[in-house]
């Protein structure tokens, strides 16, 4: 590689321009806006204004609590399920592999709006197919939209359906890069398949599992469309309101950009913390 400043920057310039204007600058700008009172003209610098409000805002703690609750339950369940899918799709005993792959991977291409609409309809109280099926096997109907617990469960079910296959794709790619002879040697030594999974697959796949977990946490942390469309604006009564939805309401319904930026930076702080944990978990051990 030779040193070629001019040539390199000619190739880089168009992308760097967009990247700076629509990513790097907004990251800085958002931080600064969070320290301004934005409902006065002109905006004025008031460092404690939004952050002070944030610390005492029950709506913020409600959204934070809901978001963390979804994170803590949905992400581990989904990663475990994705792991099961990947292991079984990888099994040499599986016939009609293509059909199974299609079933689990298809949700990856489905848009948030399309699947939110379907889930809303499937889970509706009186005419939803899910309640009809529950009834037909003698179970009571569940009011998925008027009670907080089922509404939260519904959001988690929807997100898990949409993203489990996505994670399974990444995990499967990771599994396929584990050399075959490791398993062959273990089989010769009469190590059971289950033990092979826990003592070979899981440790060798650890960086990929951690990667998927971090990606899912950061994705779920920003959850917006599902509580916006499925449980209708975070209903019932804020029971499924997430940080993403709070940011939307504050920023784009109340046009309170300063406060919304403070909410956004809370998410950023969480993401940074989680990324640091990832780096620590996957650090090279000497």
């Amino acid at each position: 590689m030779r040193n070629r400043n001019a040539t390199a920057y000619r190739f880089l310039a168009p992308y760097l321009l967009i990247f700076s204007v629509f990513w790097v600058w907004p990251i800085i700008s958002s931080f600064m806006i969070s320290f301004q009172a934005t409902r006065t003209v002109p905006w004025r610098f008031a460092p404690g204004f939004n952050w002070g409000r944030l610390i005492g805002d029950p709506a913020f703690f409600n959204a934070l609590k809901n978001t963390l609750l979804i994170l803590v339950i949905q992400v581990p369940v989904m990663i475990a399920l994705a792991m099961v899918m990947a292991v079984l799709l990888n099994s040499p005993l599986l016939k009609a592999r293509g059909l199974y792959r299609f079933a689990f991977f298809a949700p990856v291409v489905v848009g948030e709006v399309a699947y939110s609409a379907v889930f809303r309809l499937m889970f509706s109280l009186d005419f939803g197919i899910v309640n009809k099926l529950l009834n037909s096997i003698g179970l009571p109907k569940i009011d998925w939209f008027s009670n907080v617990t089922p509404a939260m469960a519904l959001i988690m079910i929807a997100v898990t359906w949409r993203w489990a296959g996505y994670n399974a794709i990444i995990l499967l790619a990771g599994m396929q890069s584990i050399p075959e002879d490791v398993y062959e040697a273990a089989t010769l030594d009469r190590v059971s398949k289950l033990k092979q999974f826990f003592y070979i697959t899981v440790p060798l796949l650890k960086p990929v599992i951690v990667f998927c977990t971090v990606l899912s946490i950061i994705g779920t942390m920003q959850l917006f469309t599902e509580p916006f469309l499925i449980t209708e604006r975070g209903g019932p009564g804020g029971g499924t309101e997430t940080l993403g939805l709070l940011l939307y309401r504050q920023g784009f319904r109340s046009l309170n950009f300063g406060y919304a930026s403070a909410v956004a930076y809370t998410m950023a702080a969480l993401a940074i913390a989680i990324t640091l944990v990832q780096l620590w978990l996957t650090r090279e051990k000497q």
Binding site: I18, F22, W23, P26, L88, V113, S116, M122, Y248
Partner: protein, 278 residues
């Protein structure tokens, strides 16, 4: 030997007995989307269990078109997704090429900023992007607003940087000895060699743009400038609306992507798996 193979058979049966119901559950929402899209509204909201398609798709589609200009919205979505994909592939592969093949001043800084900010949530830039595009540039409800801001996505840069850096030096040096200009080497030697990677990247970017919801919802909210997911989203939650129509719209958004997925599965999976190869 026979006991070994009968054990294998038993394991194989157990595997299929477990995986088949799970696969059916996973397919169920997609199947119901198709079924709902072919049912009249009074059929959707009736007490019976209907699991097979009817013949009402066209009526539902007409109802949808009555509720919102969905055809117009689809045309916007297709044009935006195509333009975005072409521009993003071009910009990010140029940037990836520069980072993979040249030494230059500031390279470490550029890479550090891209990698250091990649896990920041998109929500962080939403407010400033909106203020910039809507207020400062006065571009709300335009095509530019839909296409240009999302071009910041750095996935392609990292993906193409990796693809280009795996290519052998001699390939390009031979052309340089001949006096071929750098941009010609990029365009006519490097890009054709990277075709499978470009295909994977293009599919992922197209899908992201096609399904993008939050940004188009915020920036292009005027009727006539909405993308298809946004137009469909405005109907969800209205009281006097055709749910069969909404489902017809959902099918029109989803089925083309499912077909692309089946046809180009290898590229698709390569593109998604590449997200993990940082």
């Amino acid at each position: 030997m026979s006991s070994l193979s009968s054990a294998r058979l038993r394991r194989s049966i157990a595997l299929h007995l477990f995986l088949t119901p799970l696969a059916l559950i996973w397919l169920f929402p997609l199947w119901m989307m198709v079924v709902f899209s072919t049912m009249p509204d009074n059929g959707i909201f009736s007490p019976g269990i209907e699991l097979l398609p009817h013949g009402n798709f066209l009526d539902n589609f007409h109802n949808l078109q009555r509720d919102t200009d969905f055809v117009g919205a689809i045309l916007i979505s297709v044009s935006v997704a195509v333009t975005y994909t072409v521009l993003s592939v071009l910009l990010t592969s140029m940037a990836g090429w520069a980072l993979a093949r040249y030494k230059f001043f500031g390279k470490g800084v550029v890479v550090a900023i891209i990698l250091g900010t990649i896990t920041l949530p998109y929500a962080v830039v939403l407010i400033p992007q909106f203020i910039m595009v809507a207020r400062d540039f006065q571009l709300a409800n335009t095509w530019v607003a839909l296409i240009v801001p999302p071009l910041f996505n750095s996935l392609g840069v990292l993906f193409m940087r990796q693809s280009f850096s795996m290519m052998p030096d001699d390939l390009f040096d031979a052309a340089r000895v001949e006096g071929v200009k750098e941009w010609r080497i990029f365009l006519f030697v490097a890009l054709p060699l990277a075709r499978p990677m470009l295909a994977a990247l293009a599919i992922i970017l197209f899908l992201a743009s096609w399904n993008n919801y939050l940004w188009p919802l915020l920036i292009n909210s005027q009727p006539g400038s909405m993308t298809a997911p946004v137009a469909l989203g405005t109907l969800i939650g209205l009281t006097k609306v055709s749910w069969g129509g909404i489902m017809a719209g959902a099918v029109m958004l989803t089925v083309p992507m499912l077909i692309v997925f089946v046809l180009l599965q290898r590229h698709f999976i390569a593109g998604i798996a590449a997200g993990a190869v940082k």
